[in-house]
């Protein structure tokens, strides 16, 4: 390969199944020698929020939003058949059953392979989420221009 190909993923959704798909593709691309950037925006930010502690924000509405929409990789629901947690619990069991890594393991693996995690500052501003709410693996906090500058160089670009 003359030049490293790049892949950009916009991770808009914050559901467990969609997050799994996004990290599967990211790991696959990284193992094919491609440079991978994942842009987490809107509900997708929930995937990269830390699991511990509470999310502090200003104002009643934002505080309420961040209480209801707490996020964190361990709190994500399936987009279908969540069934008050039963369905999601079962899916995690099924994954374990066939030795498929859990989301946290996939995230660690992606990171180890050099996948870049970028959090959208606009969504953070609207929802009142501060940098401290995120896992330390997040590489940068940026906007649409950063995403487009990378996406235009890339051959693969997905919105999940």
């Amino acid at each position: 390969m003359a030049e490293r190909e790049s892949v950009t993923l916009v991770v808009f959704s914050g559901e467990l199944d969609k997050a799994l798909a996004a990290f599967n593709i990211a790991i696959g691309a990284a193992s094919m020698g491609m440079e991978v950037s994942m842009f987490f925006t809107f509900w997708g930010l929930n995937i990269i929020k830390r699991n511990e502690g509470s999310i502090r924000s200003k104002g009643v509405m934002r505080r309420m939003l961040n209480f209801i929409n707490r996020g964190g990789s361990r709190r994500l629901h399936l987009s279908k058949f969540h069934m008050l947690g039963m369905g999601t619990w079962m899916m995690k069991r099924l994954m374990k059953d066939v030795n498929f890594p859990q989301l946290e393991e996939l995230m660690a693996m992606a990171k180890e392979m050099g996948v870049k995690f970028i959090a959208c500052t606009t969504s953070m501003g609207i929802m009142g989420i501060s940098k401290e709410a995120f896992i330390p693996e997040v590489d940068s906090f940026a906007g649409v221009a950063t995403y487009l500058a990378e996406a235009r160089e890339g051959r693969v670009n997905l919105f999940i």
Binding site: M1, I27, G28, S31, M32, G33, M34, V98, N99, M109
Partner: protein, 75 residues
């Protein structure tokens, strides 16, 4: 086929076999052959695609029942 190293991916689903292959191949020298054992059927299509993209050479795929033995030469 003679291999310089073997990677066991039995029981692992996509994208783990190719991810592990990429990692294992880093340890090998150019020209050395890696043998990969897998039982996820997708590997039959995925390994050729992976090799095509990364420029490594797929020497062959042997099927033994529901298991596969794949040989990749590092280039």
């Amino acid at each position: 086929m003679k291999a310089d190293a073997t990677l066991d991916c039995i029981g692992l689903y996509c994208p783990m076999p190719i991810a592990h292959t990429a990692k294992k191949l880093e340890e090998l020298e150019k020209g050395q052959v890696l043998e990969i054992l897998a039982d996820d059927e997708g590997i039959k299509e995925d390994m050729p695609a992976w090799c095509k993209t990364t420029g490594n050479e797929l020497l062959g795929i042997e099927e033994e029942g529901e298991q596969y033995r794949l040989y990749v030469r590092k280039s």
